[in-house]
């Protein structure tokens, strides 16, 4: 965190000055380890084993079993007591896989690129008696859509609040993690049992009524073939410890870019539409709005309002053309036909399936398995790069390694490349959404120089031109584009003259308004309707701009010193300006704060109140019962804090939503020097791998590639270096590509400090200087000594300083839920040059 998020690291350091204990788990001794109380080194790719060890240690510990707080939290606020169906078989039963594993069959013949090596049928993972699929009587369409939502209701699953039944989630979890003993943790991760226990006991001692523990991770935690399961395992641990929904608790995802949170809320993701609704898909039962709602709505919990979110979203897309008669234009909305994330798109490019690429603020030419990505770029008809500098992607046809080494000639590349110089952040206004889900408005300081234009300008002008192009089309596929509402022209003469749109008009669309009275903004998502009378692009942002003159993201009023620190008047956080999600859990089932020290939100006898905006129905009494056949929040009780979940509780066990299993299990990375010490199943049975030229993987224990490698960022550079390797003040701080290796490995390979070395994998090799340091170490994995090296990935062939990109080494391998790559753990060789 100190390395990659030094500004946010201010807060852990402030906490440390107040006496907080800081633990750092990382293969390397980094700038974070330098100020941590405990550094626990684990080898890359063994996170689930470490977290699983913590789960097991907690469940076996005397403190957890004797302090009534933990039982009360877990029984009341998690699905521990819920019974799972008889058909479910755990990894304990099937030696490392869950029930339902089958061969993968592609969903659609036009897109055989999803890359799965296997597939699960998740039906056996459901809670007991939960009906699978939809009821047979055809439910009515809408609006109103309430009858449709109600038709989805089924009997809630049985519970055993004594947690004794072997089919309870609790017993399944306990059994599942029982093999993750401290000895096994040492065996798998290479972290000494002693250090592991120190970490475990520190966390346990700092959890309970009076104390909380918080986890923070940066995106590298997700960059594994079981990344989301790693985060899920952390959530499971935090739920067991009562560390969710409370101040100083939770799991902080420290995301990469300044507004990467914003880029998933208002998604640049292929598989979701605004506000985390699933993108209409040709692979699912999404043939009509009614079908989409049936497939995507859960009748209990807040997602029961999905029809309101979706209809309001469609109104924002198609405006007056969206009517009850045409399903609010649902048929015009594009559908996905498979995995269109980064890796499969570049595989498709390699196959010649992609004509053109718009590349805005991204640098794929030095991204994963970079030579394969560049080969894909060379097969495009056209490429648009919009960036601050000429990135490696913009010049791949001119000076990439293949061209330099004569393997490809510039004149043979037919891709037409367009470069658009980009404006910088201080040259336009707009909002950032930070990792805390907080929107902060930034203002324009000056016009950008020359032809530099904002991303807003680019999108706005492209949309305007495309609409003009389609204006006279009578093809049915173009009708959506014709109907698309695009009214963002600036009213400011200067900006309009420059072709810039008005960012506030876009924010207004996102926030929403009453369709019949466009100047009347929506005050919050509670006002959304499913009949088209409200227009709102992103329900989760509804409330950020509640009136024409009130842009709440522009607020800059800090809390006075000594206040609890919710900072409700600084910016605006979705949803509804809540700063801690599920904060009902900060009070006990009766609505009283768990302790004075950790009070946050509580019941005052008539309503929920506290330091934060309560994340709960405002006047629902703490012990009130849910309505048996109610939908939405009515179905949940006064002590069900997790209002987005259909059962109102946090999920230790995930019966639906994940494709790789209801519980986390340690699998080896796609490339590993060792056999999986925990299960016979080596790596995730459903990971994604693209078997194409240039993407070979080393077999387990391959002696040609005996070391573990991980890639990472340095504080001094940013990602591929596209923004930092052009700045002399930064380049002088870290001027050359290097690989960090331990003195022990250096001795073994006769490598001296700052010697040039070659690091190689089955995909490629890079030249880098050796930085020999005791901050790196070898790990003992299952009795074998395995050296671990570290490679900052910032370099490329453009910029003031150049060097080989670390991503020449990485593979096109991905996680099955979200297709995140695995650049954080692979195997390699190191030789002196």
């Amino acid at each position: 965190m100190a390395e990659c998020h030094p500004v946010a690291f201010r807060w852990p350091m402030q906490a440390k000055l107040k006496g907080a204990k800081l633990i750092h788990v990382d293969p390397r001794f980094t700038r974070t380890s330098a100020v941590a109380d405990i550094h626990a080194p684990i080898r890359s790719g063994s996170d689930v084993a470490f977290l699983g060890g913590l789960v097991n240690h907690v469940l076996q510990s005397e403190r957890w079993n004797t302090d009534p707080f933990f039982k009360e939290f877990v029984v009341s606020y998690t699905n521990a007591a819920t019974m799972v169906g008889e058909a479910f078989k755990d990894t304990e039963d099937l030696d490392g896989v869950f029930s339902g594993l089958m061969q993968y069959t592609p969903g659609i013949k036009e897109w055989p690129l999803d890359g799965f090596v296997g597939q699960y049928d998740p039906r056996t993972w459901q809670y007991a008696t939960t009906k699978v699929g939809h009821v047979l009587t055809p439910p009515p369409s809408g609006p109103p859509f309430d009858p449709l939502v109600r038709s989805l209701l089924s009997a809630p699953p049985p519970r055993d609040e004594t947690l004794q039944d072997p089919r309870t989630v609790f017993q399944i979890v306990k059994r599942h993690f029982s093999r993750y003993t401290p000895e096994m943790v040492e065996h798998v991760t290479g972290c000494s049992k002693e250090t592991f226990l120190k970490v475990a006991d520190t966390i346990l001692a700092n959890s309970g009524r009076d104390r909380t523990t918080s986890f923070a991770y940066a995106v590298a935690w997700t960059q594994h073939t079981n990344g989301p399961q790693t985060i899920g395992c952390c959530a499971l641990l935090q739920l067991l410890l009562g560390n969710i929904g409370r101040p100083g608790a939770g799991i902080m995802a420290l995301r990469g870019h300044a507004s990467i949170q914003g880029s998933t809320d208002i998604p640049t993701l292929y598989h979701s539409i605004h506000g985390y609704m699933n993108h209409p898909s040709a692979l699912k039962k999404h043939d009509s709005l009614r079908a989409w709602l049936l497939a995507e709505t859960t009748p209990r919990g807040y997602w029961a309002n999905t029809p309101k979110f979706m209809v309001s979203y469609l109104k924002s897309m198609y405006g007056a053309a969206a009517t009850t008669d045409n399903d609010f234009g649902y048929d015009w909305h594009p559908k996905i036909i498979g995995d269109h994330s980064h890796l499969p798109m570049f595989v498709a490019m390699n196959e010649g399936r992609v004509k053109g690429l718009l590349c805005v603020g991204q640098n794929p030419a030095t991204s994963l398995n970079a030579s394969v990505e560049r080969k894909g770029l060379a097969k495009l008809e056209w490429l648009v790069v919009k960036d601050n500098w000429l990135t490696e992607t913009a010049t791949f046809w001119q000076n990439s390694p293949e061209i330099r080494e004569g393997q490809r000639r510039s004149q043979d590349i037919r891709t037409e490349v367009f470069f658009f110089p980009a404006a910088q952040v201080a040259e336009y206004e707009g909002s950032f959404t930070n990792t805390q889900r907080m929107l902060q408005w930034h203002f324009k300081a000056a016009d950008p120089p020359g032809d530099c234009r904002t991303d807003l300008w680019f999108t706005h002008q492209l949309a305007r031109r495309l609409k003009k192009l389609y204006a006279s089309s009578s093809l049915s596929r173009d009708q959506g584009f014709k109907a698309l509402v695009w009214e963002y022209d600036s009213d400011d003469a200067h900006e309009r003259g420059r072709g810039e749109p008005d960012a506030l008009k876009i924010l207004k669309d996102i926030n929403g308004y009453y369709t019949a009275e466009p100047d009347r903004h929506l005050a919050g998502f509670g006002d959304l309707k499913d009949d088209g009378s409200t227009t709102c692009a992103s329900w989760i942002y509804c409330g950020v701009f509640p009136a024409l003159d009130r842009n709440l993201s522009a607020r800059k009023q800090a809390d006075p010193p000594g206040a609890p620190g919710a900072q409700l008047e600084w910016g605006w956080a979705w949803p509804a300006n809540r700063r801690i999600l599920y904060n009902r859990a900060s009070a006990d089932p009766q609505g009283r704060p768990w302790s004075e020290r950790k009070k946050w939100v509580w019941w005052d006898g008539a309503k929920w109140t506290g330091h934060d905006v309560p994340d709960f129905a405002p006047t629902k009494a703490p012990l009130s019962k849910g309505v048996p056949d109610g939908i939405g929040l009515d179905a949940l009780s006064g002590s069900d804090p997790f209002i987005m979940k259909p059962d109102g509780v946090g999920w230790l066990y995930v019966p639906s939503g994940l494709v790789d299993g209801p519980l986390p299990a340690h699998y080896e990375p796609a490339e590993s020097p060792v056999a999986n010490p925990l299960y016979r199943q080596q790596s995730s049975p459903v990971l994604k791998y693209w078997k194409i030229e240039g993407n070979a993987l080393a077999p387990v224990g391959d002696q040609r590639f005996p070391h573990i490698a991980t890639t990472y960022r340095l504080t001094e550079h940013y990602l591929s270096g596209a923004m930092s390797r052009w700045n002399p003040w930064l380049t002088e701080l870290q001027p050359e590509p290097f690989v960090e290796i331990s003195p022990e490995l250096a001795l073994e390979k006769s490598i001296g400090n700052t010697d040039w070395v070659r690091v190689s994998t089955p995909r490629g090799s890079v030249r880098a200087k050796a930085l020999v340091t005791r901050r790196m170490r070898a790990f003992t994995i299952g009795g074998h000594t395995v050296h671990h090296i570290g490679l900052p990935f910032h370099w490329g062939y453009q910029g003031l300083i150049t060097g080989d990109a670390g991503n020449e080494l990485t593979a096109l391998v991905a996680e099955p839920n979200v297709s995140i790559h695995e650049a954080k753990a692979f195997v390699c060789n190191v030789e002196r040059l």
């Binding site: 100190a2 030094p6 500004v7 690291f9 201010r10 350091m13 402030q14 440390k16 000055l17 001794f29 700038r31 974070t32 380890s33 330098a34 100020v35 550094h39 080194p41 340095l714 504080t715 001094e716 700045n727 002399p728 003040w729 930064l730 380049t731 002088e732 701080l733 870290q734 001027p735 050359e736 290097f738 400090n753 700052t754 200087k769 930085l771 020999v772 340091t773 005791r774 901050r775 170490r777 003031l800 300083i801």
Partner: protein, 260 residues
């Protein structure tokens, strides 16, 4: 005169991010060495090496690990001009270019400096060097221009972890004592303040909290002023002059005697 102002640098919360180095360069418009194109030093994460005329802030990285890694520390320290109460550079400057400001800080006036380099040799901390752009001796000004308008120095402003604290010296000393007490209470026996009291050159207006010997951080344990040589050299000069005079007298006497 305004209240004496300065820095208290708490190295125990420094994360080595070098934001201070960059913020200093940006505000003071200092160039990168060789246009930013350099070679890897191999000395931990330090690639700028030392303070000089174009590096007015410099972060040091000290790796201390036992072979088995059971004990390990990675010390980081953002170094800067100490703005000594008795400043060696001021003593030797022949042109009066180096002045003490109303904030009790030490500033080199570039337009008065003739580049004689005397101050470079006189500084016991190796802070000063010639800026190749101006051809004059330069170092940290404690952002005198910012202080004049009530702003804190660029480095302190940029420091994300409050390792660099800026303020009135009296307040900083209280802050430093409190932090030292906190560390001592936590059992840290090596923590100590460097330059916080008057015994070191009358006090350093930029002082440090360290957790190892000063030498480990490349700091002199007992820095001396050039004027330390004044008394002994004055004595020797006087003695030499007396001896010469006596010799002279005797030589004249001899010659005189011969002439007679």
């Amino acid at each position: 005169m305004a209240e004496p102002m300065g820095f208290f640098t708490d190295t125990t919360v420094c994360i080595g991010c070098k934001a201070c180095e960059v913020a200093c360069k940006e505000w003071n418009q200092l160039p990168a060495r060789n246009g930013g194109i350099g070679t890897l030093s191999g000395n931990s994460y330090d690639n700028t090496g030392h303070l000089d005329g174009i590096h007015w802030r410099h972060v040091k990285f000290i790796e201390q690990f036992s072979p088995d890694r059971r004990d390990g520390r990675w010390l980081m320290m953002s170094d800067v001009c100490k703005h000594c109460v008795r400043a060696g550079c001021m003593e030797v400057c022949p042109t009066g270019a180096i002045i003490r400001t109303e904030f009790d800080t030490v500033v080199i006036q570039s337009d008065v400096c003739n580049g004689c380099r005397d101050c470079i040799a006189a500084c016991p901390f190796g802070v000063i060097d010639i800026n190749p752009v101006s051809g004059t001796a330069q170092k940290c000004t404690l952002c005198y221009d910012r202080m004049k308008v009530g702003l804190e120095p660029a480095c302190a402003k940029a420091c994300p972890t409050q390792s660099i604290n800026f303020g009135p010296i009296a307040d900083l000393k209280k802050l430093a004592q409190a932090r030292l007490g906190q560390l001592e209470q936590a059992g840290d026996k090596r923590a100590h303040l460097y330059g916080a009291d008057e015994t070191m050159l009358g006090g350093l207006n930029s002082f440090y909290l360290l957790v190892d010997e000063p030498e480990v951080y490349g700091l002199p344990p007992d820095p001396k002023l050039p004027s330390r040589n004044l008394k002994p050299s004055a004595l020797w000069s006087t003695l030499g002059a007396v001896a010469l005079a006596i010799l002279g007298v005797f030589s004249f006497r001899e010659r005189g005697a011969r002439d007679v």
